[in-house]
């Protein structure tokens, strides 16, 4: 048995491994470019908050109609939009800052979501919601992920220049549009639909994993905006394959294995990367 066999066999022999790999590939291609923009806009924590915010909507849909894809998607979307608007309202009309508003609401959402699920579901259902089940992705879920990935890529490509300028120099971008700015709305909508897509595979607690971690890792290796995105996708793909194989051979859960791998790559990059890493810091020490 060669090394290649060890890598290829699990995917050729088992449909659930192929589906897991397919969902990782789709999430990598669609979600990771968005993750790059989120790191550039310094909104990764906000993204994390949003990933928990969708839980009550998904949970209500689950309690009323079981693990059906459409109600869960619409429920998540509604909950995400509601929490974001409510956070904006709290930030504007109270003395709370944006981070506090989002934290308050995401904790409420997470607690509320878990309570709703436990009213009707089992512990298995709860685990599914919190951590996803990447080895049990059905065709409908894969289709949803693919549609979201396509929509994300087309939107990012169509508005790419404006979105980059908005991240780099927000006041300049808004001035150039005489105060109108669609970038925040575009980012927000893309974020929520991508979280719902990733939720199926990685759950509400790790949905951001494949989106953000490769983007963080790549910043340590290149300083060119045009290479960061393809390199991040590549990193997400590598992390997915390594994670899934590790899970297959060691029997650890697959979703956490993939996120763990992506996180390890990010951490190693932060230590050893070419730009801005610990290694670069020591090397430039005079």
């Amino acid at each position: 048995m060669t090394t290649l066999d060890l890598i290829v066999d699990p995917f050729t022999q088992y449909a659930f491994m192929r589906r897991a790999l397919a969902s990782c590939v789709i999430l990598a291609i669609g979600g990771t470019p968005l993750g790059v923009f989120m790191t550039l806009r310094r909104m990764t924590l906000m993204g994390d908050a949003m990933s928990h915010a969708i839980l009550p909507g998904v949970a209500l849909a689950f309690v009323s109609s079981g693990l059906a894809l459409l109600p869960m998607t619409l429920g998540g979307l509604a909950a995400g939009v509601f929490v974001a608007l409510f956070a904006v309202f709290l930030t504007r009309f109270t003395s709370m800052k944006e981070d506090a508003s989002f934290t308050l609401l995401y904790l409420l959402s997470l607690a509320g979501g878990v309570i709703i699920i436990s009213l009707k579901g089992s512990n298995v259902d709860l685990l599914h919601m919190l951590f996803g089940n990447i080895l049990a992705i059905d065709t409908d879920s894969l289709t949803l992920m693919a549609v979201v990935a396509c929509a994300t890529l087309f939107t990012l490509a169509g508005f790419y220049r404006g979105l980059v300028i908005e991240c780099f120099d927000p006041d300049f971008a808004r001035a150039a549009q005489r105060g109108r700015s669609w970038a925040s709305v575009i980012f927000f909508v893309l974020l929520v639909i991508n979280l719902i897509a990733a939720f199926q595979a990685l759950g509400t607690l790790m949905a951001l994993g494949l989106m953000i971690l490769p983007a963080i890792a790549t910043r340590f290796w290149t300083r060119n905006i045009d290479t960061i995105i393809p390199l991040s996708i590549l990193c997400a793909l590598v992390a997915s394959v390594i994670g899934l194989l590790t899970s297959y051979y060691t029997k650890i859960p697959a979703g956490p294995a993939v996120v763990m791998t992506a996180g390890t790559i990010s951490l190693l990059s932060a230590m050893l990367g070419r730009h801005g890493s610990v290694y670069a810091y020591i090397r430039n020490w005079d």
Binding site: L40, G162, I165, F168, D171, A173, A175, R178, T222, I225
Partner: protein
């Protein structure tokens, strides 16, 4: 002389805080005006109201014939470590013209190169902006304004935290724009620069304390070195307010 920007009883609030109170008055076409005032006087807000980033709670700002505006934000509002090259960063100035889909022609690239040479950072096109010094970064922002080629130019603290040599070069560029007949409105702190180079001043402290020839503002003690000192020392906010009450008395 026609006014290119006119404020009509403009009031701006952020929550309970009143940033600008009942501002009226116009900026002449072709004028070179310094916006002066203590910290928190609403100087940056005034510029943001002109470009539309901030919307007035009351009143309105009228821009003559939808004049194109070039706006240079405070350097601190930009991400200095953003993964862009100098060339890419300066070309963001073309966005208003070519939008998201248009391509950057060879002629545009050449103009961008000329603009970078004009501000004295020619040859750094391929350098990443994270590798620029504070002065070089400010020069880059000026090159972008040159590339935008707008008749109305708004500059927000362009000489803050910039070395003397850069300031001298950038002042010459501002004076060049003035000679070309462009309207320039510039927020700045340095009273010596205002006195020496800016024919008009707009003195602001929440409301407009005075607007007109700089030498008249100096004569009326609306602009004073005392005021400048208050800005240089942080934590004197209360004293500043106090003095303004005194001014009105």
């Amino acid at each position: 002389m026609r006014d290119i920007v006119t404020f009509e009883n403009v009031t701006v609030r952020f929550g309970h805080h009143v940033a600008l109170q009942d501002i009226s008055g116009g900026f002449h076409e072709g004028s070179l005006t310094a916006i002066a005032g203590p910290n928190g006087a609403g100087k940056s807000t005034l510029l943001k109201t002109i470009v539309g980033i901030v919307r007035p709670r009351a009143g309105r700002v009228v821009i003559e014939r939808q004049t194109p505006i070039s706006y240079l934000p405070q350097a601190s509002s930009l991400q200095r470590d953003f993964p862009l090259s100098v060339m890419q960063a300066v070309c963001t100035g073309l966005w208003g013209g070519i939008g998201n889909g248009g391509s950057i022609s060879k002629a545009m690239r050449e103009k961008a190169r000329q603009a970078l040479a004009e501000v004295g950072i020619g040859g750094l096109e391929e350098r990443q902006i994270s590798g620029l010094s504070g002065g070089q970064f400010q020069r880059l922002l000026f090159a972008r304004v040159i590339l935008q080629n707008a008749p109305l130019i708004l500059l927000d603290e362009p000489f803050t935290a910039v070395d003397a040599e850069t300031t001298a070069r950038l002042i010459q560029i501002v004076l060049g724009w003035h000679r070309q007949g462009r309207t320039v409105i510039c927020v700045l702190h340095d009273l010596l620069l205002i006195q020496k180079y800016f024919p008009d001043s707009f003195v602001l402290a929440g409301k407009c304390l005075g607007h007109g020839h700089t030498h008249k503002m100096l004569e009326q003690k609306l602009l004073s070195f005392d005021l400048d000192m208050a800005e240089l020392c942080p934590g004197t906010e209360d004293e500043t307010h106090h003095r303004h009450e005194h001014d009105h008395a």
